[in-house]
Subunit: 204 residues, 2 copies
DNA sequence: ACAACTATACCGTCCAGATGGTATAGTCAA
DNA sequence: TTGACTATACCATCTGGACGGTATAGTTGT
């Protein structure tokens, strides 16, 4: 006879089952029955672990977020304490995620799920607030840093939805440009003035 | 007796009905019956105009896309033929859309709908390919132009999902930065080299 | 002018299938 | 004994879609 799995093993297999279904068939086909089948348990067993579908999806978001943040922490450690370190780690972690072609459809489905499941959306918004706080504290001019965050997020957006994404070579060049640009405006005392030839351009 | 509306009047009211439902209640509640109620027609009448729900949603995407592109054309005309003109118009049109607070939830729902309705997704991907082509031809260095497009799209992304978006003042500053940055690298002959102090920074 | 006809713009009803969720009774290994 | 399930039956609700029918507008032949 097979041994019963532990609760945490089963939970992990449920998360992977959800992810597989989202990759293959999208959010529409993510039914409780389908998840149970994919995870090799019954629907009753699934509902033993997650009381509602919304609770399942919220936990799924936590699962993927934790993976991303663990990788982010590693990359932050590698970058050290230099100005812009967090932003560079954020860019690298984002690119790693989006580069995996299997992930594009998974993340597209997850973002779509946020529209339906308010708790998942709330979680993501809190994550972004937290990342934005760290971007603000990364020792760069806040406006410049935010512009670079948007460039990263926009690249993610393009890859995720396959909206005219760059080919791999161009993507690499652009990522390198973004990383390079985090090495400027290190002095947070720099004030940005807006004119035809603004100060933040002269400083480069 | 009341006069029948023309087909195009009814279609417009159907699109607006869809949009209102998406703004208020999201994609989950965008049912044929709900759309019919909101538009003041019956479900049968709705299906007279759109044979399937997917056809309705595809047409809804075309409706909103046309509005965006009409405004984009206006702004392109205002910018004239200068290098980067398209990118500036694209940025301005995008900001105009996202600035309207009612639109945030509408667009979030529309993007979520793309995950479910392949024809709508296909339409959007083609639009982006077209915009990207014009960005490439706008007289800026292609890599730099794409980076700026991503900054615009990332801002849109943040506003749409309410992912730690900037407050209005900061948003305005960042938009101004993006617009300013389209005035550089006017010479498409500029080649970008990647080093610790790349050429594209020296040129500024 | 007017009847005959056609096309358009709907309405109201019905339906098979799927969904999330509940309830219950039982299994089985540690 | 208890935690971790399985298996099955069931329910209320909702969904997109198909259908037959109807009212009005416009066109055409005479």
């Amino acid at each position: 006879m097979e041994q019963n799995r532990t609760s945490s093993q089963t939970r992990e297999s449920i998360f992977e089952a959800c992810s597989q279904i989202l990759r293959r068939e999208g959010l529409t086909n993510l039914t409780l029955q389908a998840v149970a089948n994919e995870a090799g348990i019954s629907k009753g067993g699934l509902l033993y672990h997650f009381e509602t579908k919304e609770a399942l999806i919220e936990a799924l978001f936590e699962y993927h977020n934790n993976k991303f943040e663990e990788r982010l922490e590693e990359l932050i450690a590698i970058e050290g304490e230099k100005p812009g370190a967090f932003l560079r780690a954020y860019a690298k972690a984002s690119v790693e995620q989006m580069t995996d072609p299997e992930n594009a459809s998974l993340y597209a489905s997850l973002f779509a799920a946020e529209e339906k499941y308010a708790s998942a959306h709330k979680l993501m918004r809190e994550k972004y607030v937290n990342w934005q706080r760290q971007i603000n504290q990364s020792g760069l001019d806040p406006n410049w840093a935010l512009l670079l965050r948007f460039a990263v997020d926009g690249l993610w957006f393009a890859e995720m939805h396959r909206y005219a994404p760059p080919d791999p070579e161009q993507r690499e060049k652009i990522v390198q440009m973004i990383l390079d640009l985090t090495h400027h405006f290190d002095n947070p005392g720099n004030k940005i003035e807006h004119s035809r030839n603004p100060k933040y351009l002269e400083n480069l």
